[in-house]
Symmetry: C2
Subunit: 322 residues, 2 copies
């Protein structure tokens, strides 16, 4: 006979609040429950007793959202970029914010960047225009090794892009705030080496985090440092780009084109000039989508580690901004 | 004092005739002379005494061209495809025909194929159309591992494409006439396994040599074996494709699009329907251009080996057709 009184009291199950807007909620909940059967998952706005909530998985929450909770153990961002969370003054300074480290982000971002680098490298825009005019004008194209591609920002996503471009044989250079060396990539560090870095980038890829230091970094002064006819690929944040300056740079010819996966407003207003500019390709923030299946697994695994007082990766350095 | 009579008679310098039409002759001659200072290079039509000519580097020669020579040691094709040379009944059966093995062909071809696979994989055609309509419609995209790409033909160029696609994580399958296994690539061999091969190819890449067996292989019956909405990439030869069948397959929806770097006539006539079909992207035979600098070096190196009676790679098997 089992003596029930001898069994330990069941530990309180950790409580995760799902508070993400503009995502496929049903899919997320299915995967969170699949990977975390021992976690109680609540869905905003049915939060129950707010003081019982340990963790929040958040994306685009409304103003004032954070005021309602007790002592949270951590806040998980649904995306890799956390600039919105950091701007929210309601988040207590003691609560750790953890960025998304879904393992599918890096290959997806690298694919997207490579696709657009190759499109430019092999002059596909010109060939498409030729087809419309029934022109057959073959031209020699340089080897990948004869093309310089520069990556602004060598975080996880920037490094994944750089690695893949190196595999293809491109001449790759990277710029980062602090030294972050990579095999096969020419390194440039800090504001003092930015001009040198830019001077040979035939394609410039922005993968920076958005911080007060990087806001508006993609401006006319920077574009004028690039070799004439360069391509800009912005997969960072809309706030990195001075949008009117981009049009000026295209008009001046220092840029030949731009690929923008992020914009200052998403979606941009219907009268935004970029929609109809044939030199600019816009995509709706799809370069590196968080995938519920794998992302839910990383969030659950991190909760498990925090519950066991083990360290987790991806904790945001608030003073650094990423 | 040197006894001149004791010196060996100078060996006859090998004579190479350059007979290529529609290429940058000046550039080719510069590199041939650079790499082969000990070879006498003549340029058609200034051939001198035809019986002195040992080698011909040929591309798109006129009818009757081959009747004028004595015993040639080898004929070099300027391109990787040799189907035109093989159709020329004037070439004596005893003369070896050597295909171009410029080392820059493989990476260029793999780049081109990858570019178009990624463009389809990441739905860039739809996003470009959305931009023109000012629509912001982000959608999830599958992982590379969830996409099946099939390569028809696993010669040097097909293998280079397959390898790069495997590196990116795609599910790659290859079909070849005879077994030609590759790591990471699901192999299908011979006509009996063609239907099985086709049944899952969301992208079908044709890199076959053009032979009597492969002429017209890309026809409606084949397209109907593919999963609905597949993409065709033809980098083989125009003769592989039944062009009216392509339009039918696009109308039926078994194909969603096609990328054609080769056509039955190059350039196609001005009234060819493909020019204005938005589902078809045409490029002017630029997927894997022979580069004079490196290609001239391989030709000169092969002449050197033949002069020393050493075997050379790339000799065409005439009965096989490639």
């Amino acid at each position: 006979m089992i003596d029930a009184s001898a069994a330990p009291l069941p530990a309180k199950r950790p409580v995760l609040l799902f508070a993400c807007f503009g995502v496929n909620q049903e899919l997320w909940l299915r995967w969170l429950r699949h990977h975390g059967p021992d976690i109680e998952i609540r869905v905003w706005p049915q939060i129950g007793l707010a003081s019982e909530i340990d963790y929040v998985l958040a994306w685009e929450v409304p103003d004032g959202f954070w005021a309602q909770f007790g002592a949270l153990k951590a806040i998980f961002s649904l995306g890799a970029g956390v600039e919105r969370l950091l701007l929210d003054k309601d988040i207590p300074v003691g609560v750790e914010i953890v960025r998304m480290e879904d393992p599918s982000l890096e290959p997806a971002m690298a694919e997207y960047v490579l696709l657009h680098v190759l499109h430019h490298h092999r002059d596909m825009g010109r060939y498409a225009a030729d087809q419309r005019q029934r022109l057959w004008r073959p031209a020699a194209s340089p080897l990948a090794s004869e093309r310089t591609v520069g990556i602004l920002g060598l975080g996880r996503l920037g490094r994944a892009c750089a690695e893949l471009l190196v595999t293809l044989g491109f001449d790759v250079r990277g710029w980062s705030r602090t030294a972050n060396p990579m095999s096969g990539v020419t390194a440039f560090v800090g504001p003092g080496e930015l001009d040198d870095f830019l001077s040979r980038c035939e394609v410039l890829v922005c993968t920076l985090a958005l911080t007060p230091q990087t806001r508006g970094i993609l401006d006319l002064a920077l574009f004028r440092r690039l070799p004439k006819g360069a391509l800009l690929i912005n997969v960072g944040r809309g706030g990195h780009l001075n949008e009117p300056d981009l049009t000026t740079a295209l008009d001046e010819g220092c840029l030949a084109g731009a690929v923008l996966d992020v914009l200052s407003a998403e979606p941009p207003p219907q009268d935004h000039p970029f929609w109809s500019d044939p030199r600019i390709a816009i995509t709706p923030h799809i370069s590196a989508p968080t995938r519920p299946q794998t992302a839910a697994q990383t969030v659950i695994a991190k909760i498990d580690r925090i519950e066991r007082s083990a360290p987790v990766s991806g904790v945001v350095n608030r003073s650094q901004g990423y």
